[in-house]
């Protein structure tokens, strides 16, 4: 019976390590393929976490306190990666307060783990059990980290468009398992030790579910930062709209009038202030991002709920590809049917933008 507990603990930690490392490897491949540094940050979290689980399993198997002590290191590296990832996808900058709190907790946890004796206990037939101050700090650390992950997935689920609702529901289930359910099992595990092993597995399954969901449709990570409504290409000389694509319903637009208005404000401001072209027009509840090309007198305009680096970078890339593909036909702009192939560029460049058309 006693040895069975150890076996369960080692087995569950190893299973969790395997699940999390599969998630980590999948996301690394995706990040490398898409050259997406943000996803690389996400995958480094899971890979570090997998290392933690494998060392943890080994520590229980070998009844080794030094191994259990070392296990904390990859965890201390991985958690800031996921916090930075969440912050960057939510607001494109990291909250100094959140990261400072994390750093303080991590520094204290590191100090207690390595410099304060008497925090580990070897229980024959079970494994290495951490206790007293170390246990308290570890609980605070884990609670802080899983709460932030849960809050992010909850907000994503709440704001998701209909087309992504099913997947984000899975994301929410995964993160609930990863956070709330794991915590509950862990609490019961204080009295009935076998629940600790169940908590490990549930944690791994939860994490794995969230990773698979994000891998299936990475647009999920762009639900929170913005809601893109429309992209337009206009001829700035003739005030003619050449192309339009909608991601969400936005007021009925008379493209020609819109184009004329943009041209007017651009000209007047440039003439009056001599401070260059208009790049962005911020309204109460929307923003217009504008990318000009003086050689072909073309401007690409993206209407979104918020400005974002990904959208601005995408708009620039889109504008360049548009000109690259259609420069030979740009001499006869009135024939707008020639620009029908632009949707492919939109689909390729803005494949990360969630579509809200269905729910409206």
């Amino acid at each position: 019976m006693v040895d069975l507990e150890n076996l369960m603990l080692v087995f569950s930690a190893s299973i969790t390590g395997i699940l999390v490392s599969i998630g980590g490897i999948i996301t690394v491949f995706y990040a490398v393929k898409r050259k997406n540094r943000l996803i690389l940050l996400f995958s480094s979290m899971w890979l570090s976490y997998a290392i933690f689980w494998f060392i943890d399993a080994a520590a229980h198997y070998l009844y080794s306190i030094p191994l259990m002590t070392i296990a904390i290191l990859p965890q201390l590296i991985g958690v800031p990666c996921i916090i930075v990832f969440i912050e960057l996808i939510k607001k494109e900058h990291v909250s100094p307060i959140k990261i400072s709190i994390l750093i303080i907790i991590e520094a204290l946890l590191f100090y207690i783990t390595f410099f304060v004796p008497g925090n580990y206990e070897i229980i024959p037939g079970y494994g290495v059990h951490n206790k007293s101050v170390l246990r308290t700090f570890q609980v605070i650390f884990l609670f802080y980290f899983v709460s932030l992950y849960f809050i992010w997935s909850y907000q994503t689920w709440r704001k998701a468009p209909a087309s992504l609702k099913r997947l984000t529901s899975l994301l929410l289930i995964g993160s609930t398992l990863f956070s709330v359910v794991t915590a509950l099992m862990y609490a019961i595990g204080t009295f009935v030790k076998v629940f600790n092993s169940i908590a490990f597995i549930i944690n791994g399954i939860g994490a794995f579910t969230t990773i698979i969901v994000i891998f299936k449709d990475p647009r999920i990570i762009f639900i929170l930062p913005f809601e893109a409504y429309r992209i337009l290409v206009v001829d700035t000389n003739e005030s003619v709209a050449l192309f339009k694509h909608d991601w969400a319903k936005v007021g009925k637009l008379e493209e020609t009038m819109f184009s004329m208005m943009l041209q007017a404000i651009g000209n007047v401001l440039d003439d009056i202030l001599k401070k260059g072209e208009v790049q962005e027009i911020q309204m109460d509840r929307a923003v217009l991002l504008i990318q000009h090309d003086k050689t072909y007198s073309i401007a690409s305009i993206l209407i979104s709920s918020k400005s974002s680096k990904s959208l601005r970078y995408g708009l620039k890339q889109f504008n360049d590809e548009f000109i690259d593909k259609f420069q030979s036909v740009l001499y006869d702009r009135k024939e707008t049917s020639r620009f029908e192939g632009v949707s492919e560029i939109v689909d390729k460049v803005f494949d990360f933008v969630p579509s809200y058309k269905e729910i409206l």
């Binding site: 800031p80 930075v84 900058h93 990291v94 909250s95 100094p96 990261i99 400072s100 750093i103 303080i104 520094a107 204290l108 100090y111 410099f115 936005v250 007021g251 009925k252 637009l253 008379e254 009038m257 819109f258 208005m261 007017a264 404000i265 007047v268 401001l269 440039d270 009056i272 202030l273 001599k274 401070k275 260059g276 072209e277 208009v278 790049q279 962005e280 027009i281 911020q282 309204m283 109460d284 509840r285 929307a286 217009l288 209407i303």
Partner: protein, 358 residues
């Protein structure tokens, strides 16, 4: 001779603490007067630094390593306050990487200072910091003073002519605070009395920088933006009502400007139904726009960068303008009626540096 060294060290420590108290009082009074949370943060640094110096002096006086270790705690609280202040006035956002690094460094320093072996009691001199703790402390102080110096150097380089004399004084103070102190400290490794001189030059430098800022707080707004112009336009008739310049900008036909702004605002609102225009970002400038639903006027501020202080100021200016001139919005445009708005500008935007004669 030995006791004299201790006396000089203790006196220098107390003197440094007193200078820091003066820095704190000056900056705190200004923060309170203007209800400026940013300057509160700045004053907090000097408060904690003064606590550090008094505890440091006491540690030397009582030959107490424990007091010396405790002295580091207020210093570790004060330095992040200054870093946050500098980041906020430079970019309105705190650099998370720098903050994480600072906190990690500080926690390591505090842990080391309470572990045995980091301090040595030298009879007749005081408590001397040795080994890894000394190396870490030197790097930390370098990091701290160089951050402050780089800010004051950038401010000095970009200051308008009218503030040049004051920013020269700011730069002089920060040189004393950083380089001169480091030099004195280096000599102090061989001739201990120079350590005491370093304490005093360091804090005199700090006081000079505070005096410069206290004399004209516009200094702290040199880096975040360069405001060019504020305009008030009538949104019904498309007429310019008032104009004030902080920096040289092309002559504007306010009426055309106002008409275009009004037309674009109306079309966008009509088409997108996403409210009024708040900001127009150009390659090298930004237009901040403040509307009021119940009055036919909009205030437009042209600046190099957007800033919370400017947006807040513009909102306040627009409200005061409407409050004072409400009775004048009768459709008859005798713009000389609005000349008095200059006083509102000078009152609300007293923190904005002028670049008119550049």
């Amino acid at each position: 001779m030995s006791n004299l060294e201790n006396l000089v060290l203790v006196t220098a420590g107390f003197f440094a603490g007193t200078l820091n108290v003066i820095c704190f009082v000056l900056s705190f009074i200004y923060a309170r007067k203007r209800n400026n949370r940013l300057v509160y943060l700045f004053s907090a640094n000097w408060f904690f630094q003064s606590m550090f110096w008094f505890l440091d002096a006491s540690a030397h006086f009582f030959y107490s390593p424990l007091l010396m270790a405790i002295a580091f705690i207020p210093q570790m609280i004060g330095v992040p306050c200054l870093f946050i202040f500098i980041d906020l006035i430079k970019k309105e956002r705190v650099n998370s990487t720098r903050m994480s690094f600072t906190l990690l460094y500080e926690i390591t320093l505090i842990i080391l200072s309470f572990l045995p072996g980091g301090m040595q009691v030298i009879p007749g001199y005081g408590v001397h910091i040795v080994g890894n703790l000394r190396i870490l402390q030197i790097f930390f102080i370098f990091y701290y003073v160089l951050t402050y110096f780089s800010w004051s150097y950038l401010t000095w380089r970009r200051a308008p002519r009218e503030l040049k004399a004051l920013v020269n004084f700011l730069l002089f103070g920060s040189i004393l605070f950083s380089f001169v102190t480091a030099f004195m400290y280096a000599i102090g490794s061989f001739i201990k009395i120079f350590n005491s001189i370093a304490f005093i030059t360091h804090n005199l430098g700090a006081l000079f920088t505070i005096i410069a800022i206290w004399k004209d707080p516009k200094i702290i707004y040199i880096l975040p933006f360069k405001a060019y112009r504020i305009l008030v336009v009538d949104t019904n008739a498309g007429t310019g009502l008032f104009k004030y310049d902080w920096a040289e900008l092309r002559a504007v036909d306010e009426n055309i400007f106002s008409m275009v702004l009004q037309a674009v605002g109306s079309i966008l609102n009509e088409v997108l139904k996403k409210g009024e225009i708040r900001e127009i970002k150009m390659d090298q400038a930004i237009l901040l726009i403040q509307h009021e639903k119940n009055a036919p006027v909009a205030s437009v501020l042209v600046t190099s960068k957007s800033s919370k202080s400017l947006i807040y100021g513009l909102k306040k200016f627009n409200s005061e303008f409407i409050e004072i001139f409400q009775s004048q919005f009768d459709g008859l445009y005798e713009v000389s009626r609005f000349k008095e708005a200059k006083k509102i500008v000078e009152h609300i935007f007293d923190f904005v540096p002028e670049y008119k004669n550049e």
